[in-house]
Amino acid sequence: MARVLGAFSDPAAAARAIRALRAAGCEELRAAMPAPFPEVMAALGQPRSRLGLVTWPGALAGFAAGVALPVTTSLAWPLVVGGKPIVAIPAFVVIIFELTVLIGSITNLAASIALGWMRGGLAPLPGGRTFHGDRIGVVATVPDAELAERVLRAEGAEEVQRV
């Protein structure tokens, strides 16, 4: 299997190249780009991130902590203040809400960093080149490198090279 890299300046051209490569039977495609261009992401056809599976439980844990903290501490020192009940749920709603948002956000941050680092996320595209600036890089792992090169060039790649 050979790896071919194409560099594009136009996200629409990169998306066309990805679709053409997939139509030509190439299944292993990767891209790097300076922004999450929707057309490129759609052409790659990747499934939606499962970040929510971590973030929402994190928010729920925050909710539970938001309930537990004021309730247990109020019961630990049951002092009546202003005639309110010891466990005054309306007054605790603020704490419950804030801890839900706080712990949910921190979980979301930690999970997104972890998922971004996992499965080779920290590695650049094959060839070691980065695409943070003005180009979109598309790497195809194909049995027929010449075909991939032809497709990439035909769709407007400004540079094509084997990596």
Binding site: S9, A76, L79, I106, W117
Partner: protein, 450 residues
């Protein structure tokens, strides 16, 4: 950026323009930094007088035990508000004009909360016990009173600060990676740290876009909650002029008004000095000006409701008495200045010519900032100085120490904001590139090769 032939060229020009920002900050910039630092140091010295000699250094006397310091707290929380509105709420509503301006608004939010959070501590009689505000296990088994709005404030402000900071730095990650590639020395190391291993691969973008959506979803209710919680510091009490269900929406609208006005106040000089007129265009200022106008109408409506409801009460009513005191008493000039700055001034923005005039827009927004500080002063001071017991009525006059801390807070805020111009990308490069790709589509491949 407009005279380009391909998206790639537009991306490169945009990135160069943002990367050049630190180089465009000359001697005038360092003079401003030094001035801001001097104000902050003076404010710190004024505070040291309170620490050493006590709250007697302020003008606080019963019944007016809240004054400038609490006014400053509410004002800076309000200033911090619009960052999340612009970055999170407008993101969820897909308002494209936010792209060029939201980074400045987010920076302003973080430094605004950093400033606001200091004031409740300044106001404590014994600030070295500030940690008592947080629930922590202790030998006596004592816990904070979660039924108190002051504890709600601790949670609301610290959560807002944490989430705003996370939101700011998550947005900066891809931009820092882009700038790192061309930076050198300590700046390269700093950008490397901020980018958190960002490679810009499809795998990373997939999780990033989802994470950003979740952050926006978490941050959006915070826009409403933070100033609502701050308003409950007042509304939960029985003091006339404070005890009103109108307070949460009234405070949120006021916060957005002051915050957006501050964003415009910062953007106008920035786009000129940093040569960002191609990125932050008159269209962006026009949209923000419309937002100021819209929120000003809500604030004006709130003032109207407050006045009308009070006037419907019988003459002996304390609410009515306090309201009339605000409008006709010792602080009346401040009240009417507030009305002029927050209601009358922004109405001029209904005219396209006024919105298009940079000096007029800047003047109106500066006056809104003054008006919003006065609004908080009016709320805090007049109600306490004119409460239900006429024999305790007293006029509060801030001491020079309190004024020193008020001006010092501006120095503190601008010091961090100015320093961040050297360090952080002040425009979201990644999101701007996404927008530019669709503004500058390349010619079809056949034509390009044909």
């Amino acid at each position: 950026v407009s005279a380009v032939h391909s998206p790639g060229e537009a991306f490169a020009r945009l990135q160069d323009s943002v990367a050049a920002v630190p180089r465009r900050l000359g001697r005038g910039y360092w003079l401003l930094v030094a001035t801001a630092a001097a104000f902050a140091v003076f404010g710190g010295w004024c505070y040291s007088l309170i620490v050493r000699r006590g709250l007697y250094m302020t003008g606080l006397q019963r019944p007016g035990m809240w004054g400038n310091l609490i006014t400053d707290f509410v004002f800076w929380v309000g200033i911090a508000h619009s960052g999340t509105l612009i970055s999170a709420v407008l993101f969820l509503f897909r308002a494209k004009f936010r792209t060029a301006v939201y980074r400045v608004a987010e920076m302003m939010t973080v430094f605004g909360v950093m400033t606001a959070g200091l004031f409740p501590i300044f106001h404590l009689g014994r600030p070295w016990f500030a940690y008592w505000l947080f629930p922590y296990p202790n030998d006596r088994g004592l816990w904070v009173n979660f039924r108190s709005p002051l504890v709600w404030d601790v949670f609301a402000v610290s959560t807002y600060f944490t989430v705003s900071t996370i939101f700011l730095f998550v947005g900066i990650g891809p931009d820092a990676a882009a700038l790192r590639d061309r930076a050198s020395g300590w700046r390269r190391r700093a950008f490397g740290l901020m980018s958190l291993g960002w490679r810009g691969t499809d795998l990373q973008w997939r999780h990033y876009t989802r994470a950003y959506l979740f952050f926006a979803a978490f941050a959006t209710p915070l826009v409403v909650s933070v100033h609502s919680v701050v308003s409950w510091d007042f509304a939960v009490s029985v003091t006339p002029g404070w005890h009103s269900t109108l307070f949460p929406p009234y405070f949120v609208a006021g916060a957005i008004l002051s915050g957006v006005a501050m964003v415009i106040t910062l953007l106008i000089p920035l786009r000129r000095v940093l040569q960002l007129k191609d990125i932050i265009t008159p269209h962006h200022l026009d949209m923000l000006a419309k937002l100021v106008l819209f929120v000003s109408l809500i604030v004006t409506y709130s003032y109207g409701v407050e006045i009308l409801l009070s006037l419907r009460a019988p003459p002996s009513d304390a609410e009515r008495s306090t309201l009339l005191y605000r409008a006709t008493g010792h602080y009346a000039p401040l009240f009417w200045t507030m009305v002029a700055c927050n209601c009358a001034g922004p109405m001029l923005l209904a005219f396209r010519r006024v919105r298009a005039s940079i000096p007029a827009l800047l003047t109106i927004c500066l006056l809104v900032n003054v008006g919003m500080w006065l609004e908080r002063f009016n709320i805090v001071v007049t109600s306490l100085g004119h409460d239900r017991l006429p024999f305790t009525w007293r006029i509060y006059t801030p001491s020079w120490v309190e004024w020193g801390m008020t001006f010092g807070s501006f120095g503190w805020f601008f010091f961090w904001f100015l320093i961040s111009l050297k360090l952080l990308p002040i425009v979201s490069i990644a999101e701007m590139k996404e927008e530019l790709a669709h503004l500058h589509p390349a010619p079809p491949a056949e034509a390009a090769h044909g």
